[in-house]
């Protein structure tokens, strides 16, 4: 799968995702306003900001979980560029289980808690037509290994897993079909600091090996420092600064970014 994505990257200079003027209001309150950016294949974009800055609203609109009021989200599908905002829901959902993946902050939102780890990883495979139990199981074991879950836990339900394991399982479940674009909402959110570090390491390895394109929403600058090529800083629904991650973090231009960086420091 990694090879495939790398080839795609090499072949195209088209953005994988092109966002124009995306706006979402909640009544009179602004969720996010006039957000535009391009995401190229193999690129990881971090979106940072404090809670209430509109980053989660933006992610929901990008991933099709919430209809924006204005703007377009053009995705480079196999059939060419398509606006996922105006796309029929059927097509959007089909895309969500093939080309896209979504990693929730709370693994409970992204896992089937009543289904074994193997079943959780196998679901996307079965959704796209896998019908050989042995193969599905082998692939699940392979992916459990890649996210550092012992193979003998394959028949256990996520309930019996620690928070970090649940989150790793969610990642395996999402990546097993080799999606082209992964949305992550605070993937290290509710975890202990030591567990966070391990998960970040793991994510960095996967992103690099698979050449994943990803959009990661987080309030944690350490996460974007490690994972993101580019960074977008949001405040009160607006993008106040964007650029290469190191550039933005090392030499913040906007007063808000400066505040954000200085308040976290030791990245």
């Amino acid at each position: 799968m990694g090879m495939l994505n790398l080839n795609l990257t090499a072949e195209t200079d088209q953005p994988l995702l092109s966002v124009q003027g995306l706006t979402k209001r909640y009544g009179a309150r602004i969720g996010c306003a006039d957000v535009s950016f391009d995401l190229f294949p193999g690129e990881v974009l971090g979106i940072v900001g404090e809670s209430g800055s509109g980053k989660s609203t933006l992610l929901s609109c990008l991933a099709g979980h919430m209809p924006p009021d204005q703007g377009s989200v053009i995705f480079q599908t196999a059939q060419g560029p398509r606006d996922t905002v105006t796309m029929a829901e059927a097509d959007r959902r089909r895309m969500a289980r093939t080309d896209w993946a979504f990693v929730h902050q709370n693994p409970r939102d992204g896992l089937r808690m009543g289904v074994s780890a193997g079943g959780n990883v196998g679901e996307r495979l079965m959704a796209i037509g896998a019908r050989h139990y042995g193969d599905i199981r082998d692939k699940a074991i392979d992916w459990l290994g890649r996210v550092e879950i012992a193979a003998d836990r394959i028949d256990d339900r996520p309930r019996a897993f620690s928070g970090g394991m649940q989150q790793r399982l969610q990642i395996a479940r999402n990546l097993v079909t080799g999606p082209r674009l992964v949305f992550m909402d605070e993937p290290t959110g509710g975890l202990d600091v030591s567990v966070q570090a391990r998960l970040l390491d793991l994510l960095r390895g996967l992103v690099r090996d698979m050449g994943l394109s990803a959009i990661i929403v987080t309030h944690d600058l350490a996460v974007v420092r490690l994972l993101a090529d580019r960074l977008m800083v949001m405040k009160s629904g607006h993008v106040v600064e964007q650029g290469l991650t190191d550039q933005v973090l090392d030499d913040p231009q906007h007063a808000y970014t400066q505040l954000l960086v200085s308040s976290v420091l030791q990245v």
Partner: protein, 291 residues
């Protein structure tokens, strides 16, 4: 109830037309659940009101009706439904599968191979095969629309992971003509192969849930499984104690409180026909003696 006070087969003609439209749509899109404005019938929901409405919409005065429940013509609910149509439609009734033009059934497909021109009407309690995986109707309709059937296989995967085999014994889900996943009603999975490529029209009515679906004759129906864990129809590993049939679905009958039991055909007409033809099991007696 004065029988003349009601229309032929109880329902008024407008209602029957509405149901026939749903049936035709169901036949045109095999396995798709067609919503229909199910009526309150003079029998409770869950007792075959869907099947009764479908039968009422199909019946003509020339029809011969057979009604079975658990494969038997003489179970109380089968008797009650048969009587209802005798009263409201005055049609001929029969227990012989081959003689019936319409057969209404609950939980079984007759053993005898059905023929062209016959209609088999199933009573369906929960038409939605995805219901116990996803309780929301709005969501399951979308899943069918988009062919999002991964979850169905997750259930089968979980069965194998836990039990080593697919632990669904009845209402075993099927896929129709490679498109819709369908609940075959709570028939034992032993009956599933008979769904496919049948010469008869198969109609499914769910009254409470307001759904009709159908399999036109010679429709390809596949029981869901995995390549390396294929579907296996199963029955009790016995022969019928009355007619010695080795290939029919058997009921287990407790005969005493010492653990004694016997196995007999659940399809009473099939068993009787065999005994009339001289087939006898260890506990069977020739037909004329039991009369």
């Amino acid at each position: 109830m004065t029988d003349q006070a009601y229309n032929f087969a109880y329902l008024d003609e407008q209602t029957k037309r509405m149901i026939r439209r749903a049936i035709l749509k169901g036949i045109a899109v095999p396995g798709y659940q067609v919503p229909f404005a199910s009526r309150e019938m003079p029998m409770p929901y869950g007792w075959g009101t869907g099947g009764v409405q479908v039968t009422a919409a199909c019946l003509t005065p020339e029809d011969t009706l057979k009604v079975i429940d658990q494969g038997a013509d003489d179970t109380t609910n089968a008797v009650s439904i048969r009587k209802f149509f005798q009263r409201t439609a005055g049609v001929a009734v029969t227990e012989a599968t081959a003689e019936a033009s319409i057969i209404q059934t609950r939980h079984r497909i007759p053993e005898a191979t059905l023929t062209e021109g016959q209609i088999l009407v199933y009573q369906v309690p929960i038409p939605e095969p995805l219901r116990f995986l996803e309780p929301r109707e709005t969501e399951t309709r979308k899943m069918h629309e988009l062919e999002e059937y991964g979850l169905m296989h997750v259930k089968l995967y979980e069965d194998i992971a836990r039990h080593g085999t697919i632990a669904t014994a009845y209402a075993y889900p099927v896929k129709v003509e490679g498109r819709y996943v369908m609940d075959p009603s709570p028939i034992p999975k032993f009956d599933n192969p008979k769904l496919s490529n049948s010469a008869a029209i198969q109609l499914f009515g769910a009254g409470r849930e307001q759904r009709i679906y159908a399999l036109p004759p010679y429709t390809h129906v596949v029981s869901l499984d995995f390549d390396d864990h294929p579907f296996v129809p199963s029955k009790a590993p016995h022969d019928c104690d009355l007619c010695a049939a080795s290939d029919s679905y058997l009921d287990e009958v407790i005969t005493d409180d010492q653990g004694g039991r016997m196995f007999v055909c659940s399809d009473t007409d099939f068993c009787r026909t065999r005994r009339e033809a001289g087939h006898l099991g260890p506990l069977g007696v020739p037909m004329q003696e039991t009369v």
